[in-house]
Each structure stands twice: as structure tokens, then as C-alpha cells.
Symmetry: C2
Subunit: 183 residues, 2 copies
Amino acid sequence: MPRRSDARERMVRSAAELLREHGASATSIDLVLAHSGAPRGSVYHHFPGGRTQLIEEAVALSGDFIADLIDAAEPLAVIDKFFALWRRWLVDSDFRAGCPIVSVTVANETPRLAADAFGRWTDGLAASFAEHGVPAARARRLATFVIAAVEGAVVMCRAERSLAPLEAAAGEINELLTHTLRK
Amino acid sequence: MPRRSDARERMVRSAAELLREHGASATSIDLVLAHSGAPRGSVYHHFPGGRTQLIEEAVALSGDFIADLIDAAEPLAVIDKFFALWRRWLVDSDFRAGCPIVSVTVANETPRLAADAFGRWTDGLAASFAEHGVPAARARRLATFVIAAVEGAVVMCRAERSLAPLEAAAGEINELLTHTLRK
DNA sequence: GTCTATACGAAGATAGAC
DNA sequence: GTCTATCTTCGTATAGAC
């Protein structure tokens, strides 16, 4: 028995995982409880805002996690880590899990927080490109493009149950960046 | 009053539209009925397979629609039509509607038909690239990459309520293709 | 912080009348 | 082809005891 309950944190983490695997509308309180093992009785104690608050916190957590991953110096190293993360999530879930931010966006839930996450990722990647000789405007366009390509590739990987689309994106993007970044 | 009922077709079209705007899990029979104006009483007459069959037909219809659009000769013309379609769908829906195939994929509904749709789009685009001097293997990788980038950009556009991500993808892709295709 | 009980609506699906 | 129940399950949310 934990010294103090960690049910709240487990619920947020479960919600984030369920968003990735089942989509936003299917991520119900019941499913989160079953997945996290948290007790029903304290849901509205921990989340007075109900399901909405729970989803919002899961989106914020997921956005932060990837934003932190992107905040590194070397652009090509950042890209590598980015692709490695998606490769792992896809394979570990047998191609059932994708991006939680995409899940809430296509369900038109928490659009504000989704835009926030995409914005921070873009900022981080663009800064990394800019530090390596790419003009600011192009750096931002390139960062947006890279994130879009990866997100789209992840969706295609899930449908096709194969890493091929992600590897296609990795190949094309590496080639593009090799020619664009100042060495 | 129509000579024979067109309720069935209206339901499939409504389902496709609702998939784009509300996601797969939220596209309920009730919502389709309200949107299409079709009568409740004949749902299981037209769709003995219930909601599953209705969603499947909507996915197939949407997949066909875009596959037909892609089956054109000139690669750059195809890309232009592809981007124009998404631009229009995003703006006309005030950034609330995206790709129905993405919707069913992130909800893990009808994965077979989703893979089918992506596959046909990829085939069409790759064939177009190959006819213009791109080696077969690269043509396929490039086609996958382009579709992934567009799909990801559409999701980002919805979150940010802006066409910027789609225009970033359009710019980068046009540049890439200009250098890759045989003139 | 956690429990049980409960209210209420929406969902998918079926049965039988017309 | 369309109608009106009706069944069952699941969803969010609240109330009050412990």
C-alpha cells in the first residue's frame, strides 16, 4: 500500500495511453479506471472538472513529454530520437497506438491544448534548425513539415500495420536535412 | 417525394462527413440519422450489418473519392488537386473537418479498409511519379512520404485553426518534386 | 480518499405492427 | 420501407456514508 495514494497520477498516465490506443471519444472514465486500477470513488475528488479535466491533463502531459524530447541541440540527433520514439510506440503496441494529440484533434476535443503541443514542438525543432544555419522563416516551415510528415506516417503505419511509412519519412527527411543544414 | 428512397445513400454520405468532423467513435447511428434526415425505422433494413456496415461503406466511399482524384497523369497536377481538396475541406468546415480515413484509423475501426485506401492512393501517386522518371522504389517511398505529410499537416491545421501547416507542406513538397521529377 | 447507490441520457440492436 | 416500442449496456455525474 503506497504511503499516499498515487491513483491520480496513474489515471492521467492511463488516460494518455488510452488516447493513443483508442482515440479520444472512446477514452471514457470507466476505461481509465479499468486500465489504471484506480478506485471509482475518488474520480471526482481528484478531478472536480470530470472527464474533461482528466483528458486535458493527459494531453498536457503527453505534449510536455515530447516537447522535452525535442529540446536538444543537434538537429539530426533530435530527429533520430523523434523517429525512435514513434518506432518503439508503434512496435510495442503492435501498431495499435499513435499520437494522443492527433487523437484529441480529430475528435475536436481540447483543440487549444493540442495547438499548444504542436506549437511547442515546432518551436523547439525550428530553433534547432535555426542554430544550424537555416534562416528563421525556412526553419519554421521545415519544422512544421517534419512534424506533419511524422504524424501522418504514424497514422499510415497503424493502418498498414507496418513501419514502412515511418521509414519512408525518415529516409526522405534525413536526405532533405542533410542538404539543408549547415554542417 | 423521391420515386424510390435515397435514404440509404444519404446515410452513407452523412456518415463520411461526420467521420471527418467528429471522429469515428462519435459517429453514431443517431447522429447520422439527424444529419441525413433519414428515417430511423429502416436503418437495419438498409444496413443489416448495423453501424459497422455503415461506417465501412462510408470509409470505402471516401477512399474511392480520393483515389479517383489521384488517378491523373501529371504528378504536379495531381499534387495540386490533392492540396486544393484539403484546403477547401478545411476552410469550408472552419477547420473542423479532416480525413475520414485518419478518423477510423486512430479509433482502430475498420483497419483493413483504411489500409486499402492509403494503399490505393500510394499506388496511384507512385505510378504517376514513375511515369516521370523516378525509379520505382523511390517513387513508392516518395508517394508514401507525400501522403503522410499531407495527412499530418491536415491534423495540425485543425488544431491550429490555420492553413499554415498545409502551406508549409505544399511548399516543401513542390520544391522536392521539382528537383526530383524529370521535366 | 474511497465506498455504494443512484439518476439520467445515449448508444446499439431487436421485435412486431403497418 | 418505415413505424413504435423495448431491451441492455455504457456513459457522465451526484449524493451521502465511512
